[in-house]
Subunit: 370 residues, 2 copies
């Protein structure tokens, strides 16, 4: 089953408060979704993910198809069982990763021929194949197989790509007919061309998906261009369906995306920077590797109440990161994900109390943008 | 404070049941001590260490002196505070690591001159300096600064080394005078020469330490030689003091060491093999990386009740290890340490019930030695 309830819309912005229901539980929106590319959110255990309030996580179809293989995961009882995660999972379609292979792939109407980034072996993924893989994975939310055009791209290229994405969306829908425990989301493309975004929304919503994502943003355009595109696109989208902004999710993107009416976010950035010794704090991003934190025995973020900030110091975490100790990456990853999830929770609370605009202003008063 | 109570001696072997008391809590012996070289037991968090029943962990003086520095750790409030571990800690003296530097060190009566393995910088550690570092670290059990001779070594070399170790032991004791919250253990050396082991016990125990370790074993000699040395040495040691076999700790070493009257063990092997994808099971060591476990969705060890074995499968852990995912190493490390601690606990229970010899036989009935 799949359901979306819209509880509230913010009066002074497009921010929304809602709830998604899946077979693996409910998801309070707006929400940040940690990314578990290879059937693991890097450096985190399932119980830690639950402890920090993860309601839904992502899996990547491209990676899981190659290794360990979707058929093996099906034999294990599906991705939930394989990775010991009993809450909702969203899987992408593999499209974005395949298109990112550049010289290693060829796009045809039928699908995409590509070579594995791991061993150069040859593969083919079509809309139907992507759905079959995602059925094997057993994710609660399945993404349509789309093309994400590069940035910058000529309007004609984006328009052709968009039309193919629409034809592929239909094929995905057909392939998923009769599947009741997985909800297929349509994807809005159109690059930075307002009229193409409009066309994409109109044509995609005609296919009547239970949810829609906005793809093709945060691929090289400026933040202003991205926010303009959101400002233009979300009002065209149906109110009674969840809206997912793909691959976007810094703290400021979360706030601005929600401001523009987005309900779901995912991004590898919080975990990736953690592995490089960077942390979120309420005053902005800090590079904990820096010598300045050597004798700093205060928490990573003095305003944070996570397990790491309650028990470990900047000086200790710096020592671990400098010495390449696994615990260092564990602690920064845990903290950064907690930061994103707690921020989501605080934003939901602010929307609930009609205080989102105040919250947004207060956040930027302290948070130094880079 | 420091105290050792001997509760029971096994009738059919030298196995003993006891309890050590320190300012940071009690330790039930015999016990395996996880190694936290750089102020972290690799890949484990403090609460996971507690969850698996770690009663005491090790820190390495040599590593901590170089990075982040014992003075920085003192500023943080000591090693317990720095690494968020409120149970007992034992630190080695740095001697073993310094002597392992081979060409990078020079031994004199005053102490050892050496170059850092990290950056080639020049340092000097004497018995007094080792004590000062360990005072800064604030460990509950402090090891004397000794020389661990290589294997093989001529009797004359071992005898000279042993005598220097005795002179150094006196200097360590003097340096620790008046320190009440840290117990200094003396170290028995003598290589594989029974008469030198005897001399070392006699002379070292004259200095009257609260505990004694046996050093210089598991450095290249055969298992038989090691067990023979234990068989010869432990009966010469005082019964009312804990006995620590340094750097030894495979499952079979634990059983044999306890059989020969040892109370404390430490070894990096369980965590090191975990990082290479090897696990302990009740039927022996397994290399979980192997293709044979690809579609094996049973627990790492079907007889184990640890969190990993209750929630994750061999096939999943293999996938993680193959993909170099941090969670893979976390899960194998957690399981291997649990295996060692649970084994310690079961052995204590067996000694308590006068069933240690039966336990030992039953263990080998199932556990395949390599």
């Amino acid at each position: 089953m799949f359901d979306f309830k819209l509880f509230k819309e913010n009066k002074r912005s497009k921010a929304r408060l809602g709830e998604i229901t899946t077979d693996h539980g409910k998801i309070q929106t707006p929400i940040f979704m940690p990314v578990g590319t290879q059937a693991t959110v890097k450096a985190m255990s399932s119980r830690e993910l639950k402890e920090i309030g993860s309601q839904i996580i992502l899996g990547n179809t491209y990676h899981l198809y190659l290794r360990p293989g979707d058929e093996l995961i099906a034999k294990a009882g599906g991705l939930h069982q394989f990775m010991n995660w009993d809450r909702p999972i969203l899987t992408d379609s593999g499209g974005f990763q395949v298109f990112s292979l550049a010289d290693l792939r060829e796009i045809e109407e039928e699908g995409v021929y590509f070579q594995s980034h791991l061993d150069g072996s040859k593969h083919f993924i079509s809309p139907e194949k992507s759905m079959q893989i995602q059925k094997n994975l057993g994710s609660d939310i399945v993404m349509a197989f789309d093309e994400c055009p590069p940035y910058p791209a000529e309007k004609e290229y984006v328009e052709n790509s968009l039309n193919r994405t629409l034809r592929w969306a239909e094929r995905c829908k057909k392939e998923m007919e009769g599947v009741e425990n997985q909800a297929l989301f349509g994807i809005i493309q159109g690059g930075v061309y307002p009229e193409l975004r409009k066309q994409s929304v109109e044509e995609t919503t005609k296919l009547d998906f239970p949810g829609y994502s906005i793809g093709g943003l945060s691929v090289g355009e400026t933040k202003d261009e991205m926010y303009k595109m959101l400002d233009h696109t979300t009002p065209l989208m149906p109110k009674d369906k969840p809206r997912y902004l793909m691959g976007v999710g810094t703290p400021e993107d979360l706030i601005e995306g929600i401001y523009h009416g987005i309900d779901m976010f995912d991004c590898v950035m919080p975990t990736r920077i953690a592995r490089h010794g960077q942390i979120f704090t309420h005053s902005g991003r800090k590079t904990i590797r820096n010598a300045t934190y050597k004798q700093d025995f205060t928490p990573l973020d003095s305003e944070c109440d996570c397990h790491v900030c309650q028990n470990y110091s900047r000086g200790y975490v710096r020592h671990l990161i400098k010495r390449n100790e696994i615990l260092g990456v564990r602690l920064t990853t845990y903290h950064n994900l907690y930061f994103m999830l707690k921020l989501s929770e605080e934003i939901r609370e602010a929307i609930r109390n009609d205080k989102f605009i105040d919250f947004r202003e207060e956040f930027y008063d302290k948070y130094e943008l880079k």
